[in-house]
């Protein structure tokens, strides 16, 4: 069922108020613009949804502050709320409350299956070079831990490049944030 038909059906009958669970369910359909195998809900970037009298307030936490997909994600959230017949208010919260630990278990598994090594858990201090150079990072293709850091930076701010010595395959590592 498309968004259009759902919202059309909603507005045709007596309008039932939008619920928080309906909003969360709708957000689960929004893919990450750069890694579309995970949804914004699985990515953990939606901090809260608050519904009051057809007004939906969403707190959205960016991954990296310079992420070019930020505006696209914000607009997608607004469009989903509007399609449910409610009025969106998406607030971007630029603090330290999002971390890669917020990615759901299902999200981590989808990342791995798509060839991205999931991030290591966050530590109390900011990440250090010694952690990235250690070989605790597992190759998403063959499972080997014989992997080395190729480049701290990758195609987007949230990814590093690693190389698997066992299967000789380069792969992308989700940065711990």
């Amino acid at each position: 069922m498309t968004d259009m038909s759902r919202s059309a059906r909603r507005s045709a009958g007596p309008r039932s108020p939008v619920t928080e669970s309906a909003v969360w369910a709708a957000f689960e359909e929004i893919p990450d613009p750069e890694i579309p195998v995970v949804s914004l809900v699985e990515l953990g970037v939606i901090r809260s949804v608050d519904v009051q009298d057809g007004h939906v307030r969403v707190e959205f936490t960016p991954t990296f502050l310079g992420c070019p997909a930020l505006e696209v994600m914000k607009r997608a959230l607004e469009e989903k709320v509007a399609a449910l017949g409610a009025e969106p208010e998406v607030q971007v919260i630029a603090d330290d409350s999002w971390s890669t630990d917020k990615i759901t278990a299902a999200g981590l598994e989808k990342l791995r299956a798509a060839g991205f090594a999931p991030p290591a858990p966050r530590e109390a201090s900011a990440p250090r070079l010694v952690q990235l150079q250690s070989n605790v990072f597992r190759c998403p293709y063959c499972g080997s831990t014989q992997t080395r850091l190729e480049n701290i930076f990758g195609p987007t701010p949230c990814r590093s490049l690693r190389y698997c010595e066992s299967c000789r395959q380069p792969f992308e590592q989700f940065k711990t944030l």
């Binding site: 502050l65 409350s97 990440p127 701290i152 930076f153």
Partner: protein, 211 residues
């Protein structure tokens, strides 16, 4: 307006522009990727800090006359030499870390929260600088570049944070006349050229360019 935060945001914007000048022409492909990503992060930090200070980050970033920018001369320099470029990245990240750590203790939770987020991202810039510093620190060309840029690096921080920087990078604080023209509040000639380029689109379409 909070001068400290405006200085931070302007530094991040301008160094982001300078770092992006290596996109496509860095000495190796890995560094093309690294400098592009770092530039993107720095400009993202600038935007987030401008948004704390004003409703319209673009207006603050691009609509001011040149003399209202609060960036430090270190970030303004147009560096065409890799040794100087890496020396600046290293010195800048060391200086930036000191002020960000101070801002993480700020009484305003919006400032402290944003500083904490920036610090987590900057950790990757520091690792990049650390790797290069390790590789080049005994090379005469790199040591000369550090010596050239050291007074400028001090100029990023207010006087009360400079001792901390000197201790961190194991360098001596020079006399005041060496710092003349290299501290925040002065501008280099290179900034005018950058400003001209950086604001071209904005000035040609003041209502905002539509793509």
């Amino acid at each position: 307006m909070n001068e400290l935060l405006l200085g931070l945001a302007d530094d991040e914007l301008v160094i982001g522009w300078r770092d992006s000048e290596w996109t496509g022409i860095a000495p190796m492909l890995e560094e093309d990727v690294a400098f592009s990503s770092i530039a993107q992060n720095e400009i993202g930090h600038a935007r987030a800090v401008y948004e704390l200070l004003a409703d319209d980050a673009d207006a603050l970033a691009f609509d001011r006359p040149l003399d209202e920018y609060r960036c430090a001369p270190l970030v303004e320099l147009r560096l065409l030499d890799w040794a100087h470029t890496i020396a600046r990245r290293w010195l800048y990240e060391e200086a930036d870390r000191i002020r960000i750590e101070a801002l993480m203790e700020d009484a305003d939770p919006a400032v402290a929260g944003l500083a904490a987020k920036i610090d987590r991202e900057e950790a990757y810039h520091r690792m990049h600088a650390e790797l290069w510093h390790e590789r080049l620190r005994d090379e005469p060309r790199f040591r000369d570049a550090v010596a050239d840029l050291w007074p400028y690096a001090l100029g990023v921080l207010p006087p009360d944070q400079r001792e901390q920087l000197a201790a961190r990078v194991s360098l001596e604080i020079p006399s005041n006349n060496v710092l003349l023209g290299k501290e925040r509040g002065s501008h280099t000639d290179e900034l005018a050229e950058l400003w001209n380029e950086m604001t071209t689109v904005r000035r040609s379409a003041p209502a905002g360019a539509q793509w």
